[in-house]
């Protein structure tokens, strides 16, 4: 499978500023938009869609926004550089759990960031400056093969020179290449940095089991590898906040110092408000203080003060029992719809007798599924059936609805039988 990280910009003579290659998923959306076919389907959407194919403003978000906009006492000053205090504490808590020993020991800190991307970038900048020596740009960064297509670019832009893949997706078995993963963990240079997907792996939807996570943690501890979690789907994967946080919390309980980049784009539907957080688990309070002071310097030269609107919505929701309860329901609604689409797609493919096994559709979790379709089959779907998906075979389950699922299932069946 292709590894989704962008390599450096190629030089071009005769032009002052080179044109960078377009990011694939956005081009896909462009092509879809231009397509006139009446029953076209976009399985490359980036945001959650309802069964009517519409975006969804979470009811709890509407309520929270109303409360905020009518609150006269609100202070309209710039947020502190590290962000809204009640946001930072409540989102770290939701990730690590109220009873987290690390929180109780005062060694958890947070930096409010511009979305998950911002959190990854701030974390990456810090690591480049202070991890494994000062300004060590040669520390290898390991990202899963495949991974979210922006991971490599973020770390490269932060100055790291050596981005490498770790084995992850096994195209033959359509599952996790656990043996390969472990062997990369054993053979990489000590102190390498690993970007791990806390749940709902993007793009494969394939997560390690709890037992596998335990083994991964063991090796990483022994080999002194740095853990950087990407946590963009809490609640959105299984419908349960605690379940989705299991891996992160397990690592913390094993005593790891780690970074966790959180995003609230999907689970709050706050895509364009850029609500993210970098949770920092440090070895002790003193260390944490020093880390946060450096984080502040980094943020100061990036965006200085983060935007408050989305952070207020999240903070209010997480700290008000009624709103919190409503939010959990809203998240479960989204997760349940995705689970339903998964089970229906698999059932239909099996009913059609589509060659191959389709268990992975329901074994995978979260927004994305790696169907296992090859590039030629994907091309067939796009060109002949006007069904848009990534050439990797990745589909976004949110693009499926009860109205289009038959068409999609039949088209996949066609693609698999006609194209090899």
């Amino acid at each position: 499978a292709r590894v989704f990280y962008s390599s450096g910009n190629g030089p071009s003579k005769g032009e002052q500023v080179p044109q960078a290659a377009p990011v694939a998923v956005f081009k896909l959306t462009q092509d879809f938009t231009k397509d006139q076919f009446p029953t076209k389907v976009n399985l490359g959407v980036g945001a959650y869609r309802t069964d009517e194919g519409q975006t969804w403003v979470l009811p709890v978000v509407k309520r929270a926004e109303k409360i905020i906009v009518s609150d006269d006492r609100l202070n309209h000053e710039y947020l502190p550089i590290l962000g809204l205090p009640e946001f930072r504490s409540s989102v770290s808590r939701i990730a690590l759990g109220d009873d987290s020993p690390a929180i109780q020991e005062n060694r958890v800190g947070a930096v409010q960031c511009l979305g998950g991307t911002g959190a990854l970038r701030i974390g990456a900048e810090f690591l480049r400056c202070f991890y494994n020596g000062n300004n060590n740009t040669k520390t290898p960064i390991y990202v899963s093969a495949p991974t979210w297509e922006n991971h490599g670019a973020v770390f490269t832009s932060a100055g790291f020179q050596d981005i490498r893949p770790y084995k992850y997706w096994d195209a033959q078995t359509r599952g996790l290449d656990f043996v390969g993963f472990l062997s990369d963990l054993e053979s990489c240079p000590e102190r390498s940095i690993f970007v791990l997907h806390a749940c709902a792996h993007n793009p494969t939807g394939t997560d390690p089991t709890q037992d596998q996570w335990k083994q991964i943690a063991q090796v990483m501890m022994r080999r002194k590898l740095f853990v950087f979690f990407d946590f963009a789907y809490q609640g959105f994967a299984s419908g349960n906040l605690e379940n989705d946080a299991w891996a992160l919390r397990y690592f913390v309980s094993r005593g790891f110092e780690l970074f966790c980049a959180q995003s609230f784009s999907k689970n709050f539907g706050l895509y364009n408000e850029r609500v993210g957080n970098l949770t920092i688990v440090s070895r002790d309070t003193d260390n944490l203080k020093r880390v946060l002071s450096q984080m502040e310097m980094i943020v100061r030269t990036t965006w200085s003060n983060p935007p408050s609107q989305g952070a207020r919505v999240v903070a209010l929701t997480l700290t008000s029992p009624e709103l919190f309860s409503e939010w959990k329901d809203n998240v479960k609604t989204m997760a349940d719809r995705i689970l339903l689409m998964r089970s229906q797609l698999k059932a239909k493919l099996q009913a059609l007798g589509t060659p191959g096994t389709w268990d992975h559709i329901t074994e995978q979790i979260g927004m994305f599924s790696f169907t296992g379709l090859n590039p030629k089959q994907v091309e067939y779907l796009v060109k002949e059936k006007h069904i848009y998906l990534m050439s990797s075979g990745r589909i976004n389950m949110c693009g499926l609805t009860t109205k289009n699922i038959d068409y999609v299932a039949e088209s996949i069946h066609e693609a698999v039988t006609v194209v090899q």
């Binding site: 002052q16 044109q19 980036g46 109303k66 000053e77």
Partner: protein
């Protein structure tokens, strides 16, 4: 004492609180009830309606550069983000293969985060040009020109289009005319700043006059804008980076570079505040109402300056304080040295910026006497 003198950032009202413009509050309510606003990712370059308006208020609607389609506007999460994006773009502006590392010229003094922003973008060679003269309590143009005369070609010069931070001293139109000629002759690249657009003259376009002068002279430039101050949207990070290019043929490549840089920094900007600004700037009735509120803020600042100057005169405070009322905008340089600034914070709990400058709007009816007295003491006590 209610934190009497955080005389540094953010404007306060008579109660010493930051306030939201009345219109801004209204628009926010409207937008929150608008069912057509969908929760979706924006493009990396941000809200189009906003970038169009932001570009127009910087260059003027009839700008040649806009007509010739050689302007790129990028919506950024705040002013610092706009500066950072500009700095990142400059690294490969002239040469795709070699990372340009300076020199960048910053005014002396300047906002203390500027150098760090360029350095974070990998540009290490940061230099100063003479700007504020303490004795004259004014800009010294001769020395400024001397410094820029020796700048290597393709140097980037960071200039405040208005509301210079931290001194509050802005170049006059005549001075701008001279500087633009130097820029042309020495082939320098201006990076203009509008951190508090509209708060000098109560008029967005008027504050942007220097940008228009440069553009009309065919000068390629970057301009970072913020709408936080003049819309009372402090927490909303409403910034914009304007790129005026020499040729329309360069537009696509600069755009794709900006897209690539943004994707690795923050992916896309936050939409909330930009929607408010775009709504106001696109609606003539809103525009008039907003203009009224901003004029009121500006007038209040001018009044404070006058009153403060008069109070210092009555106290017999040594020095000349004419510059207080000759300058406009939020900031003012009090001409205090480091020791005097420390005296103020330690003994009087009045906090100025390290350069001895203060934010005029943080002064109000309740703290004016105390502030004036404190400044008087700082200048007359032997330290």
């Amino acid at each position: 004492m209610n934190n009497v003198g955080q005389l540094t950032s953010v404007k306060w009202d008579e109660e010493g609180k930051t306030f939201e413009l009345h219109l801004t509050g209204k628009i926010k309510q409207q937008l929150s009830a608008d069912p057509t606003l969908r929760p979706e990712y924006l493009s990396s370059l941000g809200l189009t309606k906003f970038t169009q308006r932001a570009t127009e208020v910087a260059l003027g609607k009839r700008s040649q550069a806009i007509l010739e389609n050689r302007v790129l506007g990028v919506h950024t999460p705040g002013f610092t983000a706009a500066m950072r994006l500009g700095a990142e773009l400059l690294r490969h502006w002239y040469d795709v293969n070699a990372a340009w590392c300076g020199p960048v010229y910053l005014s002396s003094p300047c906002d203390d985060s500027l150098a760090g922003i360029f350095q974070a973008a990998g540009i290490q060679d940061i230099r100063e040009y003479y700007y504020w003269d303490d004795k004259q309590r004014d800009i010294c143009l001769d020395k400024l020109l001397e410094d820029l005369e020796t700048a290597p070609e393709q140097s980037v010069v960071v200039l405040a289009a208005s509301a210079h931070c931290p001194t509050g001293a802005d170049l006059s139109q005549n001075q701008w005319a001279v500087i633009t000629q130097l820029i042309l002759r020495r082939r320098l690249f201006p990076f203009l700043m509008l951190p508090a657009q509209a708060l000098c003259y109560g008029d967005l376009e008027r504050d942007a006059w220097p940008v228009q002068l440069c553009a009309s002279n065919g000068i390629e430039l970057l301009c970072a804008q913020s709408f936080s101050h003049c819309f009372g949207l402090y927490g909303e990070a409403v910034g914009h980076l304007l790129c005026v290019l020499k040729h329309n043929s360069l537009l696509l490549s600069v755009q794709s570079q900006a897209d690539k840089i943004v994707k690795s920094l923050w992916s896309q900007p936050s939409v909330g505040g930009a929607r408010v600004v775009a709504t106001v700037l696109s609606n003539p009735a809103h525009l008039v109402e907003w203009q009224g509120e901003v004029k009121h803020i500006v007038e209040r600042c001018m009044l404070i300056r006058e009153v403060l100057r008069e109070r210092l005169r009555l106290l017999g405070t040594p020095g000349c304080w004419d510059h207080l009322t000759q300058q406009r905008g939020l900031y003012c340089c009090m001409g205090l040295n480091g020791q005097q600034v420390e005296f103020l914070s330690k003994w009087r709990h009045v906090y100025l910026l390290p350069s001895g400058c203060l934010n005029v709007s943080a002064i109000n009816g309740r703290n004016l006497s105390y502030v004036a007295e404190s400044i008087h003491l700082a200048l007359t006590t032997s330290l």
